[in-house]
């Protein structure tokens, strides 16, 4: 039965049917006959052309052949790893240093390596990649890996093709994983929306109402708008389904904005915690705060480079952990240098501090520019924080942002505990609340000042390490954060860690709810105006410090 079907279809020249035939063959009857290498070879060689149109035909051809190597060849082609050797044969090549490791495309046997000059790449464009994804996607419906099956199903839902309906049904019947099965059901429903049988169409509509995908919503709407649905009952069902999806999308939209806001808030929080110490606790207007962040980011870059050259590749992902203390120490020691060298002579003279630290920030920027160059440096996201988790209905959280949310909270918690419970934290609070009293109790205030500044700078460095994961690492990195940091600290209340947390998250969330309505630029302006008005009413911010310190 299946064999006959595949034979019938292979007469059809369209890609969908041809690939379907191939897929069915793969899935059910693992290649009984000898794979015809001559066909494979001919179809493969047809790829060696400048014309994308001819390449597309060659890919369709390849998709229709029954050879277990096709999947790998097509995937290599999509990744740009298929090359033509000087002798005209097509090979799979992978770059390794200056040389290319080579295997024969047809047999998969390794061959002597070659230099760049001996190889010519077979170029692909987006259209061909899409084509290849279609072909390999159908093959992947029967893959052993559930993730790949979900991806394949998703792909086919996005590009519905009535010819794959039997394939989908077959995949569903074999499916053991519930999540994949649900996806396949949706895929089938999308296709059955155009079935001849009204009962099937109604059932499909009910299934699709369960989803929360804007793609499917527009599909349903398209059906209504084009009057493709004659049956009144089903039309009502379609209206109902759209309403249900809209309700869900509305809720998800709010959840998404909230999530984005928390994520932005955590970035603001990270950027501002260090300042909450140097400005909030010590009262130093430190314009070079942004450069402390930048130094942390560059420390992460340096640690990464060391890991690249020294540590085995499988441990590379842990470079961030190693970068944490390095970033802290780097920025902290720079902090001590600045405090001892400049700021300590300027306590009590805020305007001069402002100018001096502004100058320091320019010096540090140019210094970094001279050492590392003006270009952005690449700080790679390690494997374990790349990608995203889809929560529901297209609401995705990217992993790096999730990590930053958790990391910022951890840093604040550690800092709060340190200030609250450690001996040094006690000294620090004593000195900032009443310097002369603390001094007469035998606390070396000068030393405490230096170490407090170092702590604030070090935390800025740690923040920079984390921010290198989402921002670009360039000498200007710090400037992007300095205004936001001051905004958060002033809004939250100078000297209050709690205020900084609440300030950062509320600014983040407000910003993200404003952005879709007003656009990014107006959103920023509105937030700034709001803060100015707020400061007029509560000059000491959200959480004003009370007690003796407040009086000075």
């Amino acid at each position: 039965m299946i064999d006959r079907k595949s034979r019938d279809l292979s007469g059809n020249r369209t890609l969908g049917a041809a690939a379907l035939g191939a897929a069915l063959l793969f899935a059910t009857a693992p290649v009984a006959s000898e794979p015809s290498e001559a066909d494979f070879h001919a179809a493969l060689q047809a790829l060696d052309t400048q014309k994308f149109q001819q390449k597309a035909q060659a890919i369709e051809h390849l998709g229709a052949l029954d050879n277990p190597r096709i999947l790998e060849v097509l995937e290599s082609l999509a990744k740009g790893r298929l090359y033509v050797r000087k002798d005209g044969r097509i090979v799979i090549a992978e770059r390794s240093g200056k040389k290319y490791l080579i295997q024969d495309a047809i047999s998969g046997r390794p061959e002597p390596e070659a230099g760049k000059k001996e190889l010519k790449k077979i170029k692909v464009n987006n259209r061909l990649r899409r084509l290849i994804r279609g072909v390999t996607g159908r093959l992947a419906l029967f893959s052993d890996d559930p993730d790949r099956r979900v991806k394949a199903a998703d792909n086919l839902i996005k590009n519905p093709n009535p010819q794959v309906l039997p394939l989908f049904r077959q995949a569903r019947d074999r499916e053991t994983d519930d999540a994949v099965r649900a996806k396949l059901e949706v895929g089938i429903a999308v296709l059955e929306l155009e079935a001849d049988d009204p009962a099937l169409r109604l059932a499909a509509t009910t299934t699709l109402a369960e989803t929360s995908d804007p793609d499917i919503r527009s599909l349903l709407e398209h059906r209504l708008q084009t009057d493709a649905e004659p049956n009144l009952e089903i039309r009502d069902a379609l209206h109902g389904a759209i309403e249900t999806i809209d309700r869900k999308l509305w809720l998800f939209g709010i959840a998404e904005n909230l999530l984005f806001g928390i994520s932005l808030g955590s970035v603001l929080l990270l950027a501002a915690i260090g300042l909450a110490i140097t400005f909030g606790v010590m009262g130093v207007i430190n314009m070079a705060h942004g450069e402390m962040i930048m130094l942390g980011a560059y420390s992460a870059f340096m640690v990464q480079e060391i890991f690249r050259s020294v540590v085995p590749p499988e441990l590379f992902g842990f470079y961030l952990l190693a970068a944490l203390p390095v970033a802290f120490l780097m920025s902290a020691s720079m902090g001590v240098l600045i405090e001892r060298g400049v700021i300590r002579f300027l306590y009590g003279r805020p305007l001069e501090t402002l100018l001096a630290t502004w100058g320091i920030s320019l010096i540090l920027q140019q210094l970094v520019r001279s050492i590392f160059g003006a270009n952005n440096r690449e700080v790679a996201n390690p494997e374990w924080i790349s990608g995203a988790i889809e929560i529901a209905g297209g609401v995705t959280v990217t992993l790096n942002r999730l990590c930053i949310i958790l990391f910022s909270l951890a840093v604040v918690a550690a800092l709060a505990a340190f200030i609250r419970y450690s001996r040094f934290g006690l000294n620090m609070r004593a000195v900032t609340q009443n310097r002369s009293m603390a001094a007469s109790m035998g606390i070396r205030t000068g030393q405490v000042d230096a170490l407090t500044f170092a702590l604030g700078s070090g935390i800025a460095g740690v923040a920079g390490m984390a921010l290198s994961q989402i921002s670009n690492v360039s000498p200007n990195l710090g400037q992007n954060f300095i205004v936001d940091s001051f905004m958060v600290v002033v809004f939250g209340g100078v000297g209050s860690l709690w205020g900084t947390i609440v300030g950062a998250f509320s600014l983040g969330i407000v910003n993200k709810f404003l952005e879709p309505v007003s656009g990014a630029i107006l959103g920023k302006i509105v937030v700034l105006v709001f803060i100015i008005l707020f400061i007029q009413m509560r000059p000491r911010g959200l959480f004003a410090l009370k007690g003796r310190a407040a009086g000075d």
Partner: protein, 424 residues
């Protein structure tokens, strides 16, 4: 570097003295001003252009200079500070008495030096793609005008080859280049029958780093069942977080391609391009293009700069072409006098590194080929489409009603940059 140029200057002087003693006419060296930021935010892009000018001048001197005289680079640093650009331009022309200036990157820096060059009758070669809508008798625009970059890129995406895109997101940084380009593109798209609701325009501040909402909006905009593409005029620094967010939210180029006009090899150096494979850029030059001329120049460039990893990009090629044309024009005019050289510039040709020949037109813009490349995982571009021949740059866009009637022709008797076409 400094010492090299000093040595070179000394060598020039020495050669001059030596030649003079033989009785051959040899004046002081011809001075070439280089006006690119070496510090501040724009140093990221402009430092490479300063390097390429020093490279070109040393190459020319090795060939014996121009008119038998050596060339000398006068490098100043306007430090990414727009008013300082005007001051430094004045300094170059009045104090150093340079015969030509190669410089500027951002449109705002060009706008700031333009009155200086017109007042003192200087000559500026501007090498960067820009928004058009300008024509000065003292500036030669060797970068792309919108019709040499933006319009062909959009046409490509509309074609079957490019994916038959029907819905458009025009995303840009909020300043003059993206706003003007998007205005032209919007008019162009509407002229092509794209409906208002199929165009989404979005502006973000400089250095925007939180792209979550916008990328998510783009995703929603793209789920209307029509093929969607993003046309990005996002400026330098904001690109890295933008592309990172795209990659992380799983937007592949096959689904929503992004075509960018300010992202080249130099900008990609700071990104892991693995997740970006297939996103596009439109330029007049890509480093990856295989031609003998291109590999020869890149090899010499690497030798000069002493670093195999340095890239060569579109504005650098523009300086390469502009410099060559200027040398030929000076040879043709037999003098470095600004007006004589300007007249000699029209019709000058120089080989493009990608093949074909660039021509300097009477509107001070070049005729150049347009290439569209897809990002590869090694940070280079693969050319997927190019124009059949060269495209002449158009100073005044045909898609903005008020500028469509303007034309630019700096030869006699018309000799005007923004006058209405004479009714024939």
């Amino acid at each position: 570097m400094k010492t090299v140029s000093k040595l070179m200057a000394a060598a020039c002087l020495f050669a001059g003295v030596f030649a003079a003693s033989e009785g051959v006419r040899a004046d002081e060296p011809i001075k070439v001003g280089v006006l690119h930021s070496l510090s501040g935010t724009m140093a990221i892009s402009e430092t490479a252009l300063k390097d390429v000018m020093e490279f070109l001048i040393s190459e020319q001197n090795a060939k014996g200079g121009v008119l038998g005289r050596k060339l000398e680079a006068v490098v100043v640093d306007p430090a990414s500070d727009w008013p300082l650009f005007a001051e430094k331009a004045r300094e170059l022309i009045e104090q150093h008495e340079v015969d030509v200036v190669f410089g500027c990157w951002t449109s705002v820096s060009r706008k700031s030096v333009l009155p200086v060059f017109e007042e003192l009758n200087g000559m500026l070669f501007y090498p960067v793609q820009y928004e058009g809508e300008e024509s000065s008798r003292n500036i030669f625009y060797t970068g792309a005008a919108p019709n040499q970059q933006a319009i062909p890129a959009v046409e490509y995406l509309m074609s079957e080859e490019g994916g038959s895109v029907e819905r458009w997101v025009l995303a840009g940084t909020d300043y003059v280049y993206p706003r003007t380009t998007n205005k032209i593109l919007e008019a162009f798209l509407k002229a092509k029958g794209v409906a208002e609701e199929d165009i989404m325009i979005n502006y973000t501040p400089f250095g925007h780093s939180d792209w979550q909402t916008i990328v998510s909006d783009i995703k929603k905009f793209a789920s209307a069942g029509k093929k969607t593409a993003v046309v990005s005029t996002i400026n330098g620094d904001a690109n890295v977080p933008f592309y990172k967010e795209l990659g992380n939210q799983g937007i592949a180029a096959e689904d929503i391609p992004v075509v960018a006009f300010s992202v080249g090899e130099e900008e990609l150096a700071g990104i892991d391009t693995g997740p970006l494979v297939g996103h596009l850029a439109a330029w007049n030059y890509f480093m990856s293009v295989e031609s003998d001329k291109n590999s020869e120049v890149i090899e010499k460039w690497h030798e000069f700069i002493g670093n195999e990893d340095r890239v060569f990009n579109d504005p650098m090629e523009a300086h390469y072409i502009g410099f060559q044309m200027w040398v030929q024009a000076v040879e043709k005019a037999g003098t470095t006098d600004i007006d004589a050289v300007r007249t000699a510039m029209y019709g000058q040709t120089a080989p493009n590194l990608t093949g074909g020949t660039a021509v300097m037109n009477v509107n001070h813009h070049l005729s150049k080929p347009v290439l569209i490349g897809e990002i590869q995982d090694d940070g280079q571009f693969d050319v997927v489409w190019e124009t059949d021949g060269v495209v002449p740059g158009d100073a005044w866009s045909d898609f903005i009603p008020e500028s469509a009637k303007l034309m630019s022709d700096w030869t006699e008797p018309f000799s005007c940059g923004n006058c209405e076409k004479p009714s024939s």
